[in-house]
Every structure is written in structure tokens, then in C-alpha cells.
Symmetry: C2
Amino acid sequence: MATKKRIHPVILAGGSGTRFWPLSREKKPKQLLPLASDKPLVADTAARLVGLSRLEDIVTVCGRAHAPAIRRMLPEEARGGVVVEPAARNTAPAIGLAATVVAARDPKGVLLVLPSDHAILDLQAFRETVQRAVDLAGRGSLVTIGVQPTRAETGFGYIQVGAPLAKGGGHRVTAFHEKPDRERAKGYLAAGGYLWNAGMFAFRADRILEELREHLPDCAAALAKIAPSVGTAGFARAVARHFPTCPSISIDYAVMEKAQDIAVVPASFTWSDLGSFSSLPEVREADAAGNVTSGNVMLFDALQNVVLGQGNKPVALIGVSDLIVVDAGDALLVCNRDRAQEVRKVVEALRARGDGKLL
Amino acid sequence: MATKKRIHPVILAGGSGTRFWPLSREKKPKQLLPLASDKPLVADTAARLVGLSRLEDIVTVCGRAHAPAIRRMLPEEARGGVVVEPAARNTAPAIGLAATVVAARDPKGVLLVLPSDHAILDLQAFRETVQRAVDLAGRGSLVTIGVQPTRAETGFGYIQVGAPLAKGGGHRVTAFHEKPDRERAKGYLAAGGYLWNAGMFAFRADRILEELREHLPDCAAALAKIAPSVGTAGFARAVARHFPTCPSISIDYAVMEKAQDIAVVPASFTWSDLGSFSSLPEVREADAAGNVTSGNVMLFDALQNVVLGQGNKPVALIGVSDLIVVDAGDALLVCNRDRAQEVRKVVEALRARGDGKLL
């Protein structure tokens, strides 16, 4: 067996969001919540890398407000790899910054880009998929990891799968498709040959920086000014000065949809983006009546509920079904399972009335 | 207009119960909860008497564990009238004890017996009904106040209404009927001429003590031993010694179903026994969508829910209907509105697992 390529994982932990209110807050976004296990998602993401890479090689990109919490949640070896974005600029600049950091120590090193707030079941399959993607990336391809669709989801982009590559189990990408409408999503599902774009990528540091120079020159210019300071005391100051000049744009729009030599590796693991409380049953074990619970939950004739209690406080459900019940201590949500996306309405209402401490 | 009879209200506040868990606890039974207004039910009950009687004349009978809280909840003038039962003996001995207290200062004084944990709407109608009952009682009758049934309720006793009395708007009672089965309850409702026994009575102190001597001699004997100590420092000790020897029995079984010269006055007010959280909409104003709420409740497409929040903690409901949601701070209930009686199952489960502090 050939020596495995050194992997430089890049955990994108800059997200904010309101779809898990009342658990998620501005100061505690989704990736800091223990949604898929009893550990925060960002900790799950790092833990998944044990055995794939050195934990010291993990680069975690996040916002200033969340950096202290994220450092605490990461394995000790990975804490030094936290890179703070002085301003949120979406995934292209964040990945570019990570690539700049990696390039300083391993110019042809392979980045494995992973969102910090998704759930992945089946660790062995994850490792196998990642290894295939990394091997392809080592040869110069920009590789995306695609997830087999299980429903006509309109919330994700789709990857149209092309001809198989000569070796490594990857395929060419025929096209990236933006989030489709319902009809189009059904068409993709029916046709087959389309995968969900799950935001997981592998590419060499030099390759992605090259693509950024071509497709996002303003960002590449800012990164070039930051590059000499990597590993020095001036790094944070350089980032603070130059990073905010990057345009705010996703890696998909900026690079993947435009670049040549894009490959896709189909994921062989179960994946969920954990889009809302409704998706927890995709990744957490339910009881015989279909209830997913955590905390001190007492169920009486209750079916298919998602119940997240607060510490040891009893939550009793009697004769109810398909509810989401979330007690966050200082706020309580009771929501129809089909309406979990509307949690943002609560956040908007709280914002409108200036109830800042609950946001 | 004739001088009105002095009324000696007797508030029966000895109840315990679990149907309002998680709000109600052993140390905080229903009558201590602000279920019908923003004040505890026992305070509502006393407030309803302003203008009908002197507050100093109110006798409130309750258990030792609840006496301090009840004293605090009563108007200052009524606090001296709290009589502590050393042991719960149901309503006949409690009323007998109150009658013994009243008889010491006004032997022919009229007791107006009122449960402490019911809701009454329309204060003016309450006063008119009570005045009629008291007037009848002053002439020696044992008077019960009956409530017009609005449903085939199986949880109450029924009073079969007889011929109208010559004056005062009362009727003879043909019979008391115990809690009926569903078919019988439907029959009563269809036939008309049946009223709910709501546990409200009026009778002179001497008359009810006379009836107790006839129908419940053991109790009457105990009361006779207590009587000389009323108003003295030895009262509490006498009660502690003799009251527990009384049999535990309701006034209905012990006296009303057996005595002669029973009259009934139909209530002209809206009444609810507040049997469970489901009954709150009977007495509390709902919003346009039928929701009854208290606290910081945020509703999004929510219909016909009963939501009792905790302080200022937001409770957000999205796309749900016919739920009871009660946050008691240290415990949370989410229950189908048709299943509110089953709250006792939670209490039983907590008891079974020895979770005493939540009982």
C-alpha cells in the first residue's frame, strides 16, 4: 500500500444561524450544539478525523465571537489551529485563508474541507470516501464529495455526475446545479446521476490558491498579503487588515462551478446537514414509538416527537405526536414537526421587539 | 328591605390534588394556584365575599402544611380566621369544626360554605344567589347551591330539583344522586330538573351541628369536646386531640343525602370546578384563535392551546393546536387538551421513581 497523503483538514466553523432556536443563539450557533451526539457538532467533526490526519494539522476557521468556545470544544492538539476570521466572508475566502496557512508548511498539501455543523454516520465509510477524495486531490483535481439524494430536497445544490475517472472511484462533474425548485428536484431524483453538494471538498493548497487567483483575484490578492505572516506574530494583524477586503462569496459560486478538472467522489456514508430540529431523527436513535429525546423526558402515549429537555428537568408528554419540544432554560419551543423551518419567525419577532438576550 | 342576615363564610381549603401538575404540588395544591385570575383561587374566593360578609367573619379550614401560605394569600382581616385541621377528614368534619367556631359567637349564625378551588364568573349573580341561599338557611333549611349542567358530566353529583318553596326562589330537593355513569348523566341533562352539586352550602351553625349529632355522632362528640375551647388558647390543642377521631366523610354522604328539609337554590352565575387544565378556557379569556395563555407566550399559527409560561421566559408555539403547555420552572408538561386528566400518570410515575421534590 502506498504511503498515505498527509491530510490537512479544514473545519469551516464560521456559520451562524437561527434554525435551532432556542438552543442556537448568536453567541452559540449550531456547530456549538450537541445535536448529533452528546458533544457539540464541531467536536464531532474533529473527532471524526482521528486516524485520518494529525490533529495538529486541523485548521478551524471561525468568527471571533465563537473562537474561545470552539477552542475549548476541540481536542487539545487542534486548538492551535484555530484561525479567526475578522469578518464573515462566506466559504471561498475562508477556504482561501486556510489554504494560505497550509501552503506555508506544505505547499502541495491536500486540504480536506469539512463543514462543522453536519452529521455523519458510519465512520469507516467516511474514512474510505475521504481517502478516495484525498488521493484524487493529490493528483491535482478539485474534488467534491457528493451525497446520494434521498428526497427531492430544494435546499441543496446538486452535482451532475459525469464519466468515471480512470482510477480512484471518482467521476468527472458534468455540471453544478443551484438549489432547484420542487419540480426540478424531483426530476434530479428520478433521473439518477445527481448528488447533493454537501460542502465537503478536497484539493491541494497550491491548486485552490491558483483557482482563486484566476476566479477571485481580489481575494487572492488579500491572501497574498497575508501569506508572508503565516506562523509569525504578525499573522492576526495581517488577517485583520486584509481579509475583510475579500468579497463575500461561496466556494461553489467562486470556483467549483467555473473551474476545470472537477471530480466528484460519491459518499458511502449517511449524512445529514441537520437543517432543523426535524432532521434530528435522521441521525439520532428513536424509541419504539419514534420519539427522539434527550434529557429527563417522560412519555405517555406520545409518538414521533423530538424532545430536548433542559438538564434534569422533567418534560412530560401526554397523548401528543409529531411535536418538537425544546426547553433551553430561558426559552421554550413547541412546534409542529413539519414547521421546524418557521423557528426563524420566533427569532424575527424577538429581534423586532428588541429582546436581544434571547437571540 | 329587611336587615340582611350576618353571613359566616366557611372556605374549605383542605384539598390536595395532582391534576394541575406541574403547577400543583403536595405543598402547593390547586387552591394556592392563580388559575382563574392572577391571584390564587383561595384569594379569589375570599375576595368574592367583600360586601357580603365581614372579612373578619371568614373561617378558612385548611391543613397544617398549607396554613402559612393560605394566611398570606387571604386579606389581612381574614387571617385570624384560619382554622388548621390536624388531619384531613373530608368535608363533614371540616364543616362541623367551622360550625363549632361560628356557634361560639353566633349560635344561629348562617354558614356559607364555599370550596376554595372553584372559579365563579359574574360577581353580582353570585351575590344574589348567595343572598337567597342565606335567607333560606336563616329560616332553618339546609341549603345547597346547585349549578345548571352544561354537559353530561360524570365527575359531579347531581341534585334532583323538587317543588318550589313558598318564598325565596328555592326548591325542595327530591334526591341527591351520586356521580352517574355516562348514560345516566346524559339522561339527567336531557330530562332537565337536575343541577350539579357544586359543594356550596348555606345552613345555620345550630342546624348543621344538630344534623351531625343525628347522622355523624362520633364527629359531633369530638366537636362537642372542642367547643368549650373556641376562642381560647386551648383551642389548637383541643382540635389536635379530638378532631382526628372524626370519621373521614363528605358532608354530602354524611348529612345532605339523609337530612330532611333540604333546599336548593339554582346558581345564576357561571361556575367551573377547574377540574383540569382543560377547563381553564371556561373561565379565562381566549384570544381570537381560542388560545388561553399567561406569561410571555408567542403564538404562530396556534389554535386552541392552553399555555402557562414561567415568568418572563418566552414560550413559542408554531403550528400546533389543542395542546396544554405548562412550564413550572422545574418541570414541563405538554399534553393533548383531551387528555388533561392523565396528568396524574406523570405524578404516579414520579412517585414510583421516588422523585419526591417534584410531587
